[in-house]
């Protein structure tokens, strides 16, 4: 079979020594039947892959990439899984919630099915330069779908705008022309739609002569940086950009936040892009903050379960959500705030806080919200 041949060949799966470092590090294995080591083995030895495709747990993976990070042979198990999802997507064999998210992205440019003309609504009172209105700026602030539409995440976008304005950054946004970046779309298996979004976005960036992009989300950042393969622009996550503003003295703090703060490394910022220092640097720069790191931090950080399209997937896993595990760990550390730098981490952790009823003990905040509060 061609598909099977190409998976094994494409990802050099005969190089796998079945050591099990991938599955041993897999956060989802705590809750799900997904066994990435076994999956790789099955892909290499089975003549017919159809029974593998039937495994519902294929949709449990958050594509956090720890398996690839831990692989001593340098293989990419999580990419194999994404490829299997794309075979399923090609066949139309995807969960209904994924199908809807993909369709909405195709129709409206965002996976939530929100109207495109309302994308910019959160910022109408903010006097921001808007590329789609003919404005020009040095930096494109790429807001992202969730931070454009979700009222909770709009607070994060507003905090970023406040910070940029304070530091006199010459920035603009794309307004209603902004489109889904496609990071999650690719991970839900819709390679074709991803390529379309990528082509549309690159064209948009070129039209507006954009050279430097700063994103709210670590997911948008990841795909712009690693999957767009276009060197006419530089993409940065806001933590990198803001850390530099602080370092260069362009941003200073006037208020204290007297709290014990820990930090949840977003997988798409940390594991996939090695950005560990900048978020910690920002937090340590804010006066009053006592920073404590999780025991499981940096590349060992526990995934929030929000990546890989999981925001749209009715996962087969059961048991305690990893977000809840994380909140309990943070409380044990004595943290009063768990800070993060990713919209999905924020939502999942905040959900976990309310689910376990600890809202009076701990807050979940985006780093930039703390920055905006302290300037």
């Amino acid at each position: 079979m061609d598909g099977e041949q190409s998976l094994t060949e494409k990802y050099e799966l005969f190089g796998c020594i079945q050591c099990g470092r991938c599955s041993a590090g897999c956060p989802i294995s705590l809750n799900s039947a997904l066994n990435i080591r076994k999956l790789i083995r099955e892909v290499t030895v089975h003549q017919v892959l159809e029974p593998i495709y039937e495994q519902g747990e294929l949709w449990d993976c958050t594509t956090c990439s720890i398996c690839s990070l831990r692989c001593p042979r340098g293989l990419k198990p999580h990419e194999v899984l994404i490829s299997i999802r794309s075979i399923l997507a090609e066949e139309g064999n995807v969960p209904a919630t994924v199908r809807d998210a993909l369709e909405e992205t195709f129709k409206h440019g965002n996976p939530y099915g929100q109207i495109r003309s309302k994308r910019f609504e959160w910022a109408t009172d903010l006097k921001i330069k808007n590329f789609s209105q003919g404005d020009r700026a040095e930096i494109l602030y790429f807001v992202g779908c969730a931070p454009s539409y979700d009222p909770r995440l709009q607070e994060v976008s507003r905090a970023l705008v406040k910070t940029f304005t304070q530091a006199e950054v010459n920035f603009g946004i794309l307004g209603n022309e902004e489109n889904c970046c496609g990071n999650e779309i690719r991970r839900m298996g819709e390679e074709g739609l991803f390529e379309m979004l990528r082509a549309d976005n690159i064209k948009l960036f070129h039209n507006h002569e954009i050279r430097h992009i700063v994103t709210t989300s670590s997911h948008c950042y990841n795909t712009f940086k690693n999957e767009y393969k276009d060197d006419s622009f530089k993409a940065e996550h806001y933590t990198i950009f803001v850390a530099e503003l602080i370092q260069k003295g362009k941003l200073s703090f006037s208020k204290e936040i007297k709290k014990v703060v820990t930090y949840q490394d977003p997988c798409f910022l940390g594991k996939q892009n090695g950005v560990y220092e900048e978020p910690r640097f920002i937090l340590r720069s804010i006066p009053g903050i006592t920073f404590v790191d999780f025991e499981r931090c940096r590349e060992r950080s526990l995934c929030c379960e929000g990546g890989g399209g999981r925001m749209w997937i009715d996962a087969s896993d059961s048991g305690q959500r990893l977000g809840e595990v994380r909140i309990r760990e943070a409380i044990a550390l004595g943290a009063e705030i768990i800070a993060t730098a990713c919209p999905f981490c924020l939502l999942n952790l905040e959900d976990a806080v309310t689910t376990i009823g600890l809202a009076d003990k701990i807050q979940v905040r985006d780093i930039i919200e703390l920055v905006a509060e302290a300037i």
């Binding site: 099915g113 929100q114 969730a146 539409y149 939502l347 689910t355």
Partner: protein, 320 residues
Amino acid sequence: MGRIFVLIEHRKGAIRDITWEMLIKGRELALRSGGELTALLLGYQIRNLAEKLVQRADEVLVVEDEKLSNFNGEIYQRVLSKLISEYKPALTLIGHTSFGMELAGQLELPITTDCIDLCLENGALKAVRQMYTGKVNAEISFIGAPSYIVTVRPDVFPAEGQQTGRGEIKYLSLPIEEIKYKKFIEYIEPAVGEVDITRADILVSVGQGIGDKKNISMIAELSELMGGVLACSRPIVDKKWLPKERQVGLSGKTVKPKLYLAIGISGAFQHISQIKGGHIIAINKDPRAPIFGVADYGIVEDLFKIVPVLTSKLKEIKAG
């Protein structure tokens, strides 16, 4: 137009709604054209169903055989083809259902499928079906054939109508051969208690604000009094207070009710973005809850004060 056949669709001893809908439409056509409406009932131990059908048709033709116990496209096709060639109906109506779709195409007669209307124009039959995902209605005319098949979309015609039959049941004995290719295996039932919140007109949805599992029963009672279906947000499922199938949201279900009553739901975006259409009424004690941003009406108050009042009012109304 001469005789009009309606193929009765039934499953496990119950007549399906599409049958009544086709009989209503068939009766209308028969009256206009001076034709005769014949119900075809194929099955086993179905005499009680025939009794119900005679009140709606001029004649009920019954073929009873153990081999017809469950729907099987192959046997149905053979029986139906025999009946059509013997009785020569001008028109045979079959439901555009999984049952009908499997069968209708095999009959080797001129066919138009998934029709949303049928009428007579100068004595000739005209069918209406949708094209381009419902953007265009196409009128289909039939050309010179003695017998046509039309499959009818469910839920288009009313199921209730006058009892207009003159009541004649004919039991036919047809030799039914053994068949080779298709075999009935089993009915797969949805899990017990499974509900479909995506099809409910009224959803009464409960969130974190309910506080305790034991309080869910109070919302269930309200929902029942309102003729609604109970739904919830993700935390309620996470706590295993209600099953997953009742969850509204990005990782749950997208719903399109006419009325969505959100009780103790803060209104996270992942939840509210999956309520499409209809009116939203929210009860929440936090005036800053995002649910009020999308609600048509809102009550800022403790749900434990409001729900009992609603429940007792509804009981009063029901008691007349």
